[in-house]
Symmetry: C2
Subunit: 270 residues, 2 copies
């Protein structure tokens, strides 16, 4: 058995992608993980495609300099808009993203009617619809942009009347004709999962793209003989491009524990 | 009478500063205005002081290349954190900011108890309290960071049950002991002014730093013989660093009309 102990590089526009890292640590406890959160330019969700592509390439370039064996794009916006450009720019490193992981998990469950919710940029890109329909054009898909969910989660209001009203505001159209699946196309949304489930019928299956992404990475490593040796626990290192006051509180929310071994870096030259 | 027809340069992290331009156009119809909105890096409110200073200097540098006679910092976050650094870096151009304008308007009304609301960065800086107390340490000041108001305004929910609940969430502490003044330390907040007034007592005077800033600019030009000739209507030119899908809708909300003569530019080296 051959092992590959090089780290996995994970990046997101900010700290939301730590929900992916949290699941990866459970599924892949022996892997070394390097995380980059571009907190100086967060959020990407309301930016234009040209800038999202540039930011995604800069984030990847930083992780590539750390000698990673796999890039995990834990940002739905980048995953929806810039992944082809990233692959073209870095042909020697495999790149997987939350989007393809979410789409794979969705298709596996064979739904008939799927509601996809995410940031404005993710929804405008229509990438989830395109990727799902490329495999099964029979699936009925409704997409809804929900820009308020990210700041609500970041304010710690996931379990508050404000979030309930906002969920009603965005998801009311789903009450007329209930989908059999709700696909969470944003790494912040797992923190609202319970509230989504209690607003919609309990029959609605919720697919969380962050969780799907960690599973997808686990499979990818196994199938491509890239897994790390099981002789030691994996290490982790976190890089961010900015550290505002709220940094630690936010990180704890998404990671489920305190952040250790973190460092502030500058990642872009232009 | 001497005239100075060089343009006034106004900048903000995004499009919220257009509320300052809207008032300036009423007060100063003959002035030429150049506006820069750093929409690629918006919002600044949750970033660290070091990055806010860097962004503010880059924004100013761009406007200085356009030959402006005055810089108006229409961003409360930059105004609270970076204005001294900007003045040091650009000693030959006068720089005024929403913060000093808001503070001046506040002091003029001689309040006893003022509540200041703004983004997390503006409130953490404690700059409003410092500036007000530098002149009158007797004034009782309460500051409240309200990060959800900006995305609520941008989602067009200023007049919705969600905004009413969020106002209650943030401003409830003011119900116990009602202030005689509410100082809006963010250019997005004028769009919530009516809702603030109806939540608090009608006796509470609301000072809008955006409106105060336009008045302050008008006085500054007059007192320093920098006013433009009244022989022609002023021109305006808008620059942004990114133009996402929602750009026009947002701009219309803050400016009160459609944006003309706009251009996308790149302003930073990193």
């Amino acid at each position: 058995m051959k092992y590959d102990n090089r780290p996995i590089g994970v990046f997101d526009s900010g700290l939301g992608g730590l929900t992916v890292v949290a699941t990866m640590k459970k599924l892949l406890p022996h892997e070394n993980i390097i995380y980059l959160g571009d907190t100086a330019r967060v959020p990407y969700g309301d930016k234009s495609p040209a800038n999202i592509i540039r930011f995604g390439i800069e984030d990847t370039a930083f992780l590539v300099t750390k000698g990673v064996k796999l890039i995990v794009v834990a940002c739905n916006t980048v995953s929806a808009i810039a992944i082809a450009e990233i692959r073209t720019k870095f042909p020697n490193v495999p790149v997987i993203g939350v989007l393809e992981a979410g789409v794979a998990a969705c298709l596996k469950a064979k739904p008939k009617y799927v509601a996809v919710i995410g940031t404005r940029a993710t929804v405008s890109s229509d990438a989830y619809r395109r990727e799902i329909h490329a495999v099964n054009p029979e699936i009925n898909i409704k997409t809804i942009a929900c820009p308020l969910f990210v700041p609500i989660v970041e304010e710690g209001l996931a379990d508050n009347e404000i979030s309930r009203l906002t969920i009603e505001f965005y998801l009311k159209p789903l009450k007329k004709k209930t989908p059999d699946m709700l696909l969470l196309a944003c790494t912040h949304y797992p923190l609202l999962k319970k509230s989504f489930q209690s607003y919609l019928s309990k029959k609605v299956k919720i697919v969380d793209s962050a969780e799907a992404c960690a599973k997808f990475a686990e499979e990818y490593l196994r199938e491509n003989s890239l897994s790390a040796s099981k002789s030691a626990a994996g290490t982790e290192r976190f890089y961010v491009t900015d550290m505002p006051d709220s940094f630690f509180k936010q990180a704890r929310k998404f990671l489920g524990r305190d952040l250790e071994h973190f460092q502030k870096v500058s990642i872009s030259e232009n």
